[in-house]
Amino acid sequence: MYRTTDILEHKQSPSAGGVGEAEYMVINVGPQHPATHGVLHLVITLNGETIINVEPHLGYIHRSIEKMCESLTYRQFIYTTSRMDYLSSHINNHCCAMSVEKALQIEIPERAKYIRVILDELTRLASHQLWWGAMAMDIGAITPFFYAFREREMINDIMEETCGARLTMNYMVPGGVMFDLHPNFQKRVKEFIAFFKSKIDEYDEILTGNVIFQNRVKGIGMLSKEDAISYGCTGPTARASGVSCDVRKLYPYELYNNIEFDEIINTGCDSFARYQVRMQEMKQSLKIVEQLIDNIPEGDFQAKTKAVLKLPKGEFYTRVETARGEFGVYIVSEGATTPYRIKFRSPGFSNLSALNHMAKGNKIGDLVAIMGTIDLVIPDIDR
């Protein structure tokens, strides 16, 4: 599926290293390749083992979610976003619910805000745990995967008990949340916090300090601050290049302006910096959950809303910080019960666009490590 013109261009460009014509090789990675975590198709041009060009080909799991949303009502379209970034499904749903509330000027109860933020942070933790395990596995360490899933399972169980589903919860509805918290919720979250605190150091012990791991990620996949901005990277990928872009800090929503937490910024610019940012974000998420879990106010969990939601004519944009970066929902409404047009700004798409820049000049073995540190979720990129 490669285009010969691409290769010819590289042959002619002086930046390609000035090597002989016959030495370029084009290989396909994916769409079904275990290292791409899903169905990402990469066309890689190689000179020996050195990467000359990485070209992502999208479309393999395109489900036209944006088009589909145009025929769904404002209550129905929320569930589709769980199918985009399935590891941050709560946060995606949150963004959609919030954009509808903003457009209709619905004031949501305080209790719903607390529930939303706690569940958001638990989702972020679960997502980072899965990333940690999966990334270690990409590099060749199988054991961390099991440790990560042990802790993630506890969060999934909490979700299952309160929301009824483990991954695609559809728990956020315009006006609040779908049901009240399960009576066991607080107890189990506290158990999880205590358990995870005793285990998070094991993560460092088994992987962070490991010499093989460090050699695989240090100084690899450099992304300078300027490049991170010009590629539109967000989330931990950009914060590891020194860009301050945490939506929770810059454009606080729900309770985030009253919560004490730090935006993690690292200026290492390499794969190891991205790794460290995510590791520290887990600790920050724990801190947020700890602050809120004891103070959930009593009261309603859902504001009264009309049975049929009609957004006023206009354009509405809302953004949140998912585990991967800035997620935005842009709704154009003509005043009907369904949106005229919906655009989702997904963090994975912009982060993937920087992959070529990061991988160029590195060895092919490092490509998987770089992809691991930008934490790609393919349905989020290709929706």
Binding site: E160, G164, A165, T168, N170, M178, I206, V211
Partner: protein, 156 residues
Amino acid sequence: MFLKNYISEVAGAVKSLLKGMKLTGYYFTHRKEIITQHYPEIKPQLPERFRGEVVMLHDENNEHACTGCTACELACPNGTIKIITKFDITPEGKKKKAIDTFVYHLELCTMCNLCVDACPTGAITMAQNFEHSVFNRNDLTKKLNKPGSKVRAGVE
């Protein structure tokens, strides 16, 4: 100087590897830390809110609370539910809308809970069954109101 650096680097590397091995060794030798669940032999305990499939609640008199209002059909994003209504004759001789068949396409359902949320009478709910594989696709199209069932008196 070079040699000294080299040796300390190697020593540090070996130390980091041993540290990791110590942890895996700990889990290898401690049986109580094993978290494996033997799924097909031991069925998991699912919480009562778990969404496995949509079911209609029937009481001991084979009566349900569905009035055939089609609110669930309208709430469903995928066209999973099809309500076929009929007209019953009440004792007073008036015509009354009632449900004939509640068709539920399990293969289309995304378990989003919107139908259960929309139902004004609480006639449907989510069940915990999650083992849905069948050999014939048509088996996934279900009729949720039991044969001979009728709407409970007093449910409007």
